[in-house]
Amino acid sequence: MPGLSVWYVRTALVYLALGLTFGMLMLWHKGMPIHPALWALLPAHIEFLLLGWTLQLAFGVAFWILPRFRTKRGNVRLAWLAYALLNAGIWLVTLDPWLGRLAGWGWTGRVLEALAVIAFALHAWPRIKPPGA
């Protein structure tokens, strides 16, 4: 597994652990109430598990396993850029309620996430090819 995939997949595992922990707290609270403020974790629970875990794992495994050009994986800088943009975006979106919604952090975070997807698609596109091409 290449170094960047290790970063992607281990970061995804951290988000899985965080997302499941938030989910566990909210579900416990639903059954045996602890504190109503726990419902504020719902957006982070969704963001961490959909983008932080599932999407990031898909990127990491795709970078590892998609066809290569002999031994090279194409434009690796774009894939690193996608990693940085995706994680910056996830944290901006997640922290938006605490940073102040009017400042536009959440919107900025969504833009960074979209740019991450574009960067990864640009990296992966040439690797989707027939054998030997």
């Binding site: 597994m1 170094g3 290790v6 899985l16 652990a17 499941l20 989910g23 566990m24 059954g31």
Partner: protein, 139 residues
């Protein structure tokens, strides 16, 4: 494909079918002929799909395909991997029953069942993370 992977993937397929059935049930127009808890299936539908299908499929394939841990323990701690399967599925099954019933008619028994299902699912997820982590390595 190792036996535990086959079990994870086949269980995931069952959850996928159940998720789609739950999605159908929650979208039916209200009727006295339908069980009342159908109206409370939305969270169950999402979690059957995301935890039962997506997460479980990933865990099963990851257990099979991630880089080998060591020559002696290629897939890490097998007992931990089996624990992840048991805990995740026990927690999810308990949730599927307890959550709509608790929403329909709150009762301490359903409340404690939900709390227990939360802990079981969390422990299952953590067991997977702990077992997968050392296998995610550069080579």
């Amino acid at each position: 494909m190792p036996p535990l992977t086959r079990l994870f993937i086949k269980t995931a397929l069952v959850y996928l079918a159940l998720a789609l059935l739950a999605g159908l049930a929650r979208s039916l127009p209200p009727s006295e002929a339908l069980p009342a808890f159908f109206a409370y299936l939305t969270p169950v539908y999402f979690h059957l799909f995301m935890a039962g299908w997506v997460l479980q499929l990933i865990i099963g394939v990851g257990y099979w395909m991630f880089p080998k841990h060591t020559r002696e323990q290629p897939r890490g701690n097998e007992a931990l991997a089996w624990a992840a399967y048991g805990l995740l599925n026990a927690g999810l099954a308990l949730r599927v029953v307890a959550e709509p019933l608790h929403s329909l008619q709150p009762h301490p028994a359903w409340g404690w069942a939900l709390a227990l299902s939360a802990v079981l699912q969390w422990l299952g997820g953590m067991a997977f993370v702990a077992n997968a982590w050392p296998r995610i390595k550069e080579h």
